[in-house]
């Protein structure tokens, strides 16, 4: 099952749209500046719809089946959120609207900032960052700016556990600091001796994920935070796993100084096949003035509670600066706001309780079937190993590919790196018991197949639109564009480098 490229169904002269007449007296176009042609497809509206609807059928998605992808929180994306973001008053609102003309949007953003800060026990939040990675960059730049603001120029290192997601060390480098890797103990917790040895006055801070990337709550987290603070460093929490924490613990109260939230994980905004998202950042007293801007502030409070206050966009006084052209992925703000409004505080706590319940249920059911490197109560996800003693040549990847034959998306593979053949499983709270039971049965069946008929796994998947793809060929040939590009090289001045 494959679909033609849209260019392959194109015919010269066909068009899908009719546009109005120019309607004003025309001027001559500046001929010397114009391009000759534009190589876009020429197709009808029906062709476009069939093409993309057929393409959509080639995807696995939350709305078509279970998606237990660890650390990604593939929960149900409520439909009311989609309608809300498409309301004309939001969709047609210009980003550089005057404050008086955008009070509705600003009020919504203000509420969202306030709720996110409250949920984590922070003083303030910025909802500008477009993704978790951008939130991380913001947080690390804030830590850097904090030390520089205190004229402390020697703090150039950020400690990152070896269990961390790759974005953490990449973020540190991007911010111009040095990532120092810390070993984990066998439970995936921070090794306190290694931490003690690494701490000195060159440490700007530490980045850590809670619950850890192995899905467990580090019981020594308070010790870790205290030690880093005593050494003059600040604590950054990667909030990728926030779905386990709402109403369970406030990171700000635990002692974290700054964290990012993934609105596209915890707060149900859709992943969109790889974005857009929102990586909001929360900060305590120490760092709140360094948040990326603009953030929404109440410009004029009102005494009469029937009058709405006046909101405005402001740059925090010591802000690390702008991270996006405008004030963030507002469409995602609307969705997350709607989600939080429907749940309320108690409801969000129920979300985390049930996310943890579901993960522990699946973990309990698969104990003894798959090796579990950390065998204790987990948070909202848990890690298994996709390797069986006595069965050679079966990898986590083979188990993952075989799952596709049962209409289930594979768990996260090969992360965290410190667990060999890792399968990281996160069911989320929106899956019902029957769906989880089915998943458990399929996982058991695959474990049996691995022993009885390993080739069935190695050649999987069998029922998907395409079979395993040739990644080596893709990287070597590097065909990333299906159209011939006009050769302008002769017109270019030879490069001196």
């Amino acid at each position: 099952m494959t679909e033609s490229l849209i260019y392959e169904i194109s015919s010269p002269g066909r068009t899908a749209v009719t546009l109005p007449d120019v309607g004003v007296p025309e001027v001559e176009l500046p001929k010397d500046l114009l391009r000759k042609d534009l190589d876009l497809p020429e197709v009808s509206e029906l062709q476009v719809m069939r093409h993309f609807v057929n393409l959509s059928h080639l995807n696995h998605s939350i709305d078509t089946g279970l998606y237990p992808l660890g650390s990604c929180t593939m929960k149900y994306n409520p439909k009311v959120n989609e309608d809300a973001a498409r309301l004309a008053g939001f969709a047609y609102l210009h980003p550089l609207s005057d404050e008086e003309g955008s009070q509705g949007a600003l009020a919504l953003m203000y509420q969202l900032q306030t709720w996110l800060a409250e949920l984590s026990g922070f003083t303030g939040a910025s909802i500008v960052p477009a993704a978790g990675a951008q939130g991380e960059l913001a947080g690390i730049l804030m830590i850097r700016a904090y030390h520089l603001d205190r004229k402390d120029h020697k703090r150039t290192k950020i400690l990152v556990p070896d269990s961390a997601h790759g974005t953490n060390p990449a973020t540190v480098s991007m911010a111009g600091l040095q990532a120092v890797e810390l070993p984990s103990d066998k439970n995936g917790d921070v090794d306190l001796n290694a931490l003690r040895a690494a701490l000195d006055d060159s440490v700007a801070g530490m980045m850590i994920t809670v619950p850890s990337t192995l899905g467990v709550f580090d019981t020594k987290i308070r010790d870790v935070i205290r030690m880093v603070h005593e050494a003059g460093g600040l604590m950054y929490m990667d909030g990728a796993n926030m779905n386990a924490l709402m109403g369970v613990v406030k990171p700000g109260e635990l002692g974290f100084d700054v964290m990012h939230y993934n609105l596209h994980k915890t707060f149900s905004t859709p992943h969109g096949g790889g974005g857009p998202g929102c990586g909001a950042v929360g900060a305590n007293e120490k760092l709140v003035d360094f948040l990326p801007g603009p953030i929404v502030e109440m410009v004029e409070e009102t005494e009469d509670e029937n009058d709405a206050p006046l909101y405005g966009l402001k740059m925090p006084v010591k802000s690390i600066g702008r991270l996006k052209a405008f004030q963030g992925n507002f469409g995602m703000h609307v969705r997350a706001y709607t989600y939080m409004r429907i749940y309320g505080g108690e409801g969000l706590h129920e979300v985390s309780r049930h996310a943890v319940l579901n993960a522990n249920y699946v973990r309990a059911k698969l104990r003894g079937v798959y090796p579990m490197p950390v065998d204790r109560i987990c948070g909202h996800e848990f890690v298994m190993s996709g390797h069986f003693e006595g069965v050679e040549g079966i990898h986590a990847l083979d188990i993952s590919k075989r799952l596709m034959d049962f209409g289930i998306h594979p768990p996260t593979n090969y992360f965290p790196l410190i667990v060999p053949e890792a399968l990281l499983i996160e069911p989320t709270e929106t899956e019902d018991k029957a769906t989880l039971d089915n998943f458990v049965e399929v996982m058991k069946k695959i474990a049996q197949e691995a022993k009885d008929d390993p080739e069935l796994l190695r050649s999987a998947p069998h029922t998907t639109p395409v079979k395993r793809v040739d990644e080596v060929r893709a990287a070597k040939q590097l065909m990333v564009c299906c159209r011939p590009i006009p050769d302008y090289d002769q017109q270019r001045t030879p490069s001196g480098d």
Partner: protein
């Protein structure tokens, strides 16, 4: 593992080999390294004339699963690069010590090679990984 480790070469802990011939040397990656990387799809080469100190990066190799920097086993000035690798990066897999050489350099100080491993030491080192 049945990697080849020619005895006339010196090896760095980061898996580059050095074939020292007087003031000149040829540099590539070991058979062990190419096996670890699997199908190599791209090699980034330095410019001829570039001077690179010992331990500094002079290029990179990529497979579909990994990318790693190439570090100079001894400091020197690049005199020649194997431009065939641009079209046929797989030469690193099929012929690491011969057609898959990466750069030739004029060595700053041949005594820097003393810090490298000989074949026997490198074989032992690979066993520990």
């Amino acid at each position: 593992m049945s990697s080849q480790t020619p005895s006339e070469l010196k090896y760095a802990r980061t898996d580059e080999y050095l074939r020292l011939e007087g003031e000149n040397a040829t540099i590539g990656i070991s058979d062990f390294a190419q096996e670890q990387l699997n199908d190599i799809v791209f090699v980034e080469l330095p410019e001829v004339g570039a001077h690179v100190a010992q331990g500094e990066p002079f290029g990179a190799v990529e497979s579909v699963k990994a990318a790693s920097d190439l570090l100079m086993p001894v400091g020197g000035t690049v005199t020649e690069v194997n431009s065939q690798l641009s079209d046929e990066p797989e030469l690193l897999n099929t012929s690491p010590y011969d057609k898959g050489w990466i750069v030739k350099i004029k060595v700053d100080d041949p005594s820097e090679a003393n810090a490298l491993m000989d074949a026997a030491a490198y074989i032992e080192y690979c066993k520990t990984r």
